[in-house]
Subunit: 342 residues, 4 copies
């Protein structure tokens, strides 16, 4: 079985593993106050061109989303996000468990627009019963989205502008940010400039695990380590996160290895399209969503794992194929051959 069902099927990139081995028996202080974390923070700040940013390391995405969002909102506030947003559908209500409503907006290709944010917020305050409803307190987006799509620089700039006008911090979930940087026009510097807080995904982009939160807005930086600890994200051996991100941000490794995923994904997409198979979303990143018949699904299932997405019509279903930093040429070649043979 060759796995295309997700982007966390393997361990870590070789360079990271080597670094963990090399430093394994060193003694350092705990809780991310060690020199590796400090070095990684410096490199990330430099890569973001944002010397005043606070950088923190957490273990996983759900934990990071919950920690950031609950650190920003007051109790009567909720977070605006796309209906399809990860916090709205795939985190077992972690945001609500910390007291906040997710204010879901209709999405298009997994994205929401500046106009939607403005309209929702103005409508909130225009309602005579506004105090009986949850106040929008921040905006959450994913880049890339759950559908593999990307915000254009113009879209993200406009979102940022409207959020600042309305006093809503903009938070970007970057669990797959590496794949977005490799395939899109928004750079790490843009992220730091346009978002108030975002994170750089490690788990799905070459690390064993780990997410690097970049808080560019000084107003959101205060006391963040308390929140990490309270939400169970303060790793005792924090230097494991430092070592991994330090490696990823040395010599541009992060963007280098994520480029492989996009390249392989586009090869797979091309194979499907050549076969006349429609793509459910117009994704240029590491997730591709062909629309297959039941027969085609069965044929591919024999040798490849992939994810069921949703029924499209009587006979067809959208499914998801993921590539990653670890995807091998030979695996993609076998998949392409299988697609051609459909």
């Amino acid at each position: 079985m060759i796995r295309f069902e997700c982007d966390y099927s393997e361990g870590a990139h070789e360079a990271i593993l080597q670094r963990l081995i090399a430093t394994n028996m060193e003694q350092t202080v705990g809780y991310s106050e060690d020199p590796y974390c400090e070095s990684a923070r410096e490199k990330i700040r430099a890569a973001c061109d944002c010397p005043e940013a606070a950088v923190h390391f957490l273990v996983g995405g759900t934990q990071t989303n919950a920690t950031v969002i609950s650190s920003v909102l007051r109790p009567h506030q909720g977070v605006l996000c796309a209906q399809s947003g990860h916090i709205n559908v795939h985190e077992t209500g972690a945001i609500e468990a910390l007291g906040h409503k997710v204010l879901a907006l209709p999405q298009k290709d997994g994205k929401i627009t500046a106009q939607q944010v403005r309209e929702y917020t103005l409508a909130h305050y225009a309602d005579s019963a506004f105090e009986h409803t949850v106040q929008p307190g921040m905006v959450y987006i994913s880049h890339p989205t759950e559908m593999g799509t990307l915000y254009t620089l113009e879209e993200m700039t406009e979102l940022s502008r409207v959020c600042r006008e309305l006093g809503l911090p903009l938070f970007a979930d970057g669990a797959r940010l590496g794949y977005g940087l490799a395939a899109g026009e928004v750079t790490l510097r843009d992220m730091a400039k346009l978002c108030d807080v975002f994170y750089i995904g490690g788990t799905k982009c070459g690390a064993l695990f780990g997410e690097a939160v970049v808080i560019s807005s000084p107003a959101l930086q205060k006391d963040f380590r308390y929140h990490i600890k309270q939400n169970g994200g303060m790793l005792a051996k924090g230097r494991l996160l430092g070592v991994q991100f330090d490696t990823l941000f040395t010599d541009g490794l992060y963007e280098k290895i994520t480029g492989n995923a996009s390249r392989q994904a586009l090869r797979i997409r091309a194979a499907f399209e050549k076969k006349g198979i429609e793509m459910f979303f117009d994704s240029t990143t590491n997730q591709q969503f062909p629309v297959l018949t039941g027969q085609q699904m069965d044929a591919l299932k024999e040798d490849f794992s992939f994810t069921y997405w949703q029924k499209v019509d009587e006979n067809r279903h959208a499914v998801r194929f993921c590539t990653s930093w670890a995807t091998k040429d030979e695996h993609v070649e076998k998949l392409v051959a299988a697609i051609e043979a459909l």
Copy 2:
């Protein structure tokens, strides 16, 4: 200004006020452990034909919804309800503040169906990532709904059957239950038999304030008073609630006085319809939703208060007129005259 904007514009029914005056300087124990509360409980159990029900008195609706729902759910569970449900839109996220996601279902006239509940629940367990999503843990309905509509006995029976089959407690918000009992086919006995827990609204139905929670399911009765206290609903002078509900449930006062509201509402509806004005929902209870032009709204606004509901088309808007136990004939007559003069 004659007020039709809501059903809580006045104080209490005369009989209740007299009873509060008569008992004012009596000394009783606090926290609803007094003889008035005990008497009211007995009368409510009898009216529900449910001798084993636990009956508790709380102050208001949002508090009651939050207390009941948080007492039933485990942390990973959410509550299914209509998109338009009060807990989803008009309680400032009180359910989320206690840790639970509201799982909103598309509504029709404010109602949800047994089929929707079954489909949502089966789809939840059929999803391979079900543990990454919020588990449906109970069902919330309003009777009457926010739109003034009512469940038929058949609809509620079917909902109840499906909920029991799926292990989901069924909870009915009865903030306006009196108006539903007066106008529909579901009786108090039906409520006690079909729901696992529901409440009998006092605030909008003749009392100064107060809601009587009836927990017919023995499984949900344990430790409920702790939950009331924790959620700020344990009134020190609890006998005020006992006196009010004891009066409402003496000689059928509750259903008697709520009948006035329906009668007056239907007069108002008839006046609109006679004028060729469409009703936005087919309500038979104390809330009526005519669709007016801006000009018509302006004309009525001069002497009457009512609530803006939503835009219907370029020129027309749905608005809400409420009657109550306190609505006077002369006020309705003036309104009818004004409608005729539109």
Copy 3:
């Protein structure tokens, strides 16, 4: 049975009841936006000599404490209070239910000192693992305390000074504030000046129910009505609270009627002391704590209700007798006679 077990055995003061009757069938808007609430707010601001204060009306004490505290704290913060504080022992964990630890300090006669607050806070920041512990975020006191004692003006001034120095809002629970004003040296103006937020208890001091929150600190005023709604404290017929507090703050009724309680309490205390019975706390307000033998308790129990407090030694127990605005001379005379006959 004559009841001295608490200060909420009766209904409301006659003047309040008359006012509720007189206004009963008036129509007003809901949710405390009516003219009665507005008038009461003005009178309270004037009585506090604090024109910029925000004044809000809630139903009960636990609800008020939870609403105020959760509106002030961020998620990683806790509230400093006396070990014996109401929020720490008698609210079924309502503060924790909203996410915050109660940071209990050793108390003396129910009070905490400025020095304790400073020492705790400095120790918190001096701890190298401070981010692993709950950050002190505000201070809660009761005035009068659970033991009936009062802060002197000097003590409260010093507490206020230290709190401001440390950036900790000072919140006073005034469930029995009327009895404190009647018996102590701290005035309503002092409360408004020294506390950042406090409340004026109605439930125990002449009203049917209701607490008036005074937020003198502008920094804490924003969006408070959302918090009231979310915590179930937004009364639909809010004018009931307005009418009651407007009456209490007309012609100084509040302080007048609470004076009766102190006077009666001191008569009871004098009777115990004359009999050589020790008082467990040195209370000058409406709660008195004689230390009785089992035999004495039994003798008094026949005609009077009172509250068991705690065991003092092998043979003796502290109990509590409460008076209130409603306590009658004849009841106190019977009690005094019974004490003399012990």
Copy 4:
């Protein structure tokens, strides 16, 4: 600088690292549903002699405590624990953040007794205002405790008996369980038999990170994976935890490597005692607490890191020295020499 300040200064045991390297590029399914986790579960069940136990893998201790406790308690319940318990003092209020009060009991050497649990619980129900206080809902202990002490088999058996009698699940925090197993009389089988749920610490006992939760009580097993996900503990590359625990539970590695820590700790203790230096707690595990003068602290600080614990008297301070699976003979020898030279 040689570090004795904690037991998480290094990375992982060599055998674990080798296994991670060997399996690094294998493809597996995520979220701990892979064969490595399954194998580790089987081995842990066998080691516990508890075939019906549910075994789950989480990342860190605070997360594990919060997840287990919030999965067990209802909203009005709290968790009994020693005043010095980790959840009470060093988790930034994580338990309260999920809604529950920590009910702290006076501790002796970090331990609580069966009698304390019984007395607290009986006193709770004997209080006439019990519904106004937090209901004890479970018991949390640490084994070893924060002070390095251990429950005897008799103590833990008695605790377990009382907990079952009172219907309170017993939960043991085993962050350092390996060091307890190596030094005490309670075995893994005893843990599984006497506790309803406990965890086997990996982070401090040889793994890079990870804690294995063993839920021996069937009543607490339902839906636990939802709770893990909601609390941010569902590691995407879950097999990393499986690989680590599978290695630790192969050929008794876990108890073998933790034995080193106890052995080294006792050498250090002996050196202090030989010097006439008193130990603050009678610990037989990997944490040792000598009572030093300021001068002695300064002398040792030059070459060794250790943790300040508390002031003991005018001139003396308790400090903590930790050993671990990774502590080297040569480091201990240098420390012993330095102690001798004091």
